[in-house]
Amino acid sequence: MPKDGGIGASTKRREDVRFLTGKGRYTDDINIRGQLHAHFIRSQVAHGTIRKIDTRDAEAMPGVVKVFTSADFAGVGGIPTGWQVTSRDGSVMLEPKHPVLAEGKVRHVGDPIAVVVAETLDQARDAAEAVEIDIDELPAVMDMKAAVQGGPLVHDEIGSNLCYDWGFVEENRAAVDEAFKKAAHVTTLDLVNNRLIANPMEPRVAVGDYEDHSGQHTLYTTSQNPHVIRLLMGAFVLSIPEHKLRVVAPDVGGGFGSKIYHYAEEAFVTKAAQILKRPVKWTSSRSEAFISDAQGRDHQTRIQLALDADNNFMALRCETYANMGAYLSTFAPCIPTWLHGTLLAGNYKTPLVYTNVKAVFTNTVPVDAYRGAGRPEATFQLERVIDKAARELGVSPVELRRKNFIKPDQYPYQTPVAVVYDTGNYDATLDKLLELSDYAGFEARAAESKARGKLRGFGLAHYIEACGIAPSNLVGQLGARAGLYESATVRVNATGSITVFTGSHSHGQGHETTFAQVISDMIGIDASQVEIVHGDTSNTPMGMGTYGSRSLAVGGSAMVKATNKIINKAKKIAAHLMEASEADIELKDGKFTVAGTDKEKTWVDITLAAYVPHNYPLESIEPGLEETAFYDPSNFTYPAGAYGCELEVDPETGKVEILAFTAADDFGNVVNPMIVEGQVHGGLAQGIGQAMLEHCVFDENGQLLSGSFMDYAMPRADDVPFYSVDHSCATPCTHNPLGVKGCGEAGAIGSPPAVVNAVLDALHRGGFTNVTHIDMPVSPSRVWQAMHG
């Protein structure tokens, strides 16, 4: 039995008390005396030359303080990119300038052209209608292949729409080709990983504040990583040193990746507040979010699997076109490369893998990481091509996978794609899945569906992800322009309570609860004695924030490290107070004892002594009890699992109904099972959303067709089934102190191929054997078209 409030307990989320009672304090709740409101005027065309911007009439309108254009940002840097990818030929990627406000040209619908700042938002919006903008529309380049074959240039100055042409592992290219020549069977699949719009519940908001007398800037923003924003915006865009720039990300209502990046609006309000000497606020409307938040996925891929005569995987070859959109968002270049190509071994012992990725500029909204980021794309193609191969070979998709699994005795396992898996047991998660989903009873259920005129299908998918991002020295070699450690300061207060300042950021994940559980367990005090503080660069140590399922694995490890320093110091103090040797001091359940004696000091005795050091070895130990630690992981973590989807297709309408979804995950150790299940549920809803409903679509002129919730289908409660989730097949991570792997993205990574495999299975059972693939979302129309079209 886990200790109440300790590791392993399903402690209720303490932050929910404020969220559910309306006491959350989000960025839009921040209103500063004298604040002005900014309204962005955005391009309505996808591509064009700006001929003229006339702001005179608008500036004369009531309440208008100033209308900004790029001219006001002349001395300001572009929005930087945090990752540099090197092409196959050794050249570095093309990195066009991303100005805060469009300079000379607009490059996607939503590109900001001018900003009206006024006393009220309505005045700003009224005046925006009076800004005269003259744009010569240019042909938009939308199709990625056309873009690199002489299509119109998105950025004239770089001379090409091909950002980079990446090969991995380049040295294996010839060997992979050779393996395909020798293969007994080759399965080829062309597919699209559909573009998605993140749509966190809270749209983005930014409030800039400036103190003239001190030169102090403050930016309140909806960010997953305030320190990253401070570094990028301060150092590269506005030239503000860190000590004069505070970035605060208070309660944040979901991010899913889209709030990692540094956005133009943040730089705008920070700079405008300085120019106008008044606070400036911008709140995105939902419509604006559709055309200004970085979007996700959008890959076009040919994936090929080579098998020998015994159905062993010999080689995998992937050619992907990855859409970057019109500008490089902060981490865009690394998503289709290092978060994608390195995952293509999957759970399998395929000896040779080669991936070629062409990253392409188009006249669309920028694309960057979205829950899973690269790993869903890798998993989808791998798990789809394996299913297709099984069908072509007439073997069971379960057995084909099992045959090719890396086996439990092979860890640590060096994949052919650089990463080394520390632990795992894929047979165990598969067995668990088959058991929980009653796979044995499927045929009977399929027969029952058939009797009702419905086609039933079962789809299986395995996934592995590289989480706990990331070893800094490794990512540095791969092109990262930042370290990916995490930090924590553990401040023990005089009477024994603890305040933890973490560089991680919680925007739905529940850190305030789980991090406290860890400390409670380590020291043996009640979790209510521990407060977790995050989101403000002025009080937290420099940290890289939350994404890539890294918070507990990396941020939690930093906290454990700092807490161990605390415990070591506390033991020294205890040894002094009890006149014993430090080596004999034990800490258990909040009490320090001397081994083999009945001497005892409570936690509070020690913390008080540290802050009221009357009887204290001041010559050898500093007073106080506060430690900071930075943790840089030595490897990624590798959560993995088996997902099963059971569904029915209505052959008359193509409508798919998911009847059951089962997830057997290996997350290593679990601190709070309830929160882990919640994360899996949310991830599954997002993955099912991608598979069944969500699709960001532009027309050939670059207009967004799915520009609101009337056309962009978010999953709703009745679109998803009751899930059966399990994380009992745990193989703890070997290289972080908690043995945790991360669970935030798994659901979104593993579920799309399970859904699509199930639809294909249903169609095949229904006699539609010529259907080999349906692109996501597998909407009723697409499924029907595949059957009857």
């Binding site: 008359e652 309408t653 409903l693 679509v697 009337m710 056309d711 289908a713």
Partner: protein, 263 residues
Amino acid sequence: MHNFDFVKPSTIADAAQALSHEGAQALSGGQTLIPTMKQRLAAPATLVSLTAIPEMQGVCLGDGGLHIGAATPHAVVAREAKAHYPALAALAGGIGDPAVRNRGTIGGSLANNDPAACYPSAVLASGATVVTNTRKIAADDYFQGLFSTALHDGEIITSIVFPIPEKAAYVKFDQPASRFALTGVFVAKYAGGVRVAVTGASQDGVFRWKDAEAALSADFSPAAIKGLAMESGTMIHDLHGTQAYRANLVKVLTGRAVAAALA
């Protein structure tokens, strides 16, 4: 949203008077008009609310069938029409979400005539009469294509009169995002014959499927329409469905509506 004036008359005559002014527009449940104004796509100078006019509220039996006040919210129709015209009540209960059903009204829906709206199919299939402050308009004359109706500027729908069928059913296939009708079919069987109205599918808005009406008038069973073909050339093609897909849905849903009416 731009600024506007707001009036809330309590009689139809006052409402008509208010609407005769330049820039005045009727406001009923506001579920279509208010979002349009928020996006600054409409900027009426004056909004004339129709929700405080007693004659435009409620559901009751009367001459010619079931009378529904034009300003009656969908939720009220769902509740109060149930005993008299269950298929119509079910349609109203399937519109949008509870908030939309508690605000949105039948008159607003018919005045707007969204090609994917539900009510137009019921009105057309029932051969209902749209009653305005100046005249009575037969359903067959009322709908004139996408977002277009026989209403004149400033004319107010005051009520709708639905002849009550022997059997009827509405089957809606949800557009996945908006959950309006990707296609919806209303089938109503009267002593004089069967009427079939289709919404969501055609580029010309709600329409009657006359071939199906003839077949079903002869034999009111799902099998009766098996041999019919639905022309796809005038169907809508968009993100959510091709023309062929919608033509298929019309046929499938008609069969299902007949089955539901018989159940």
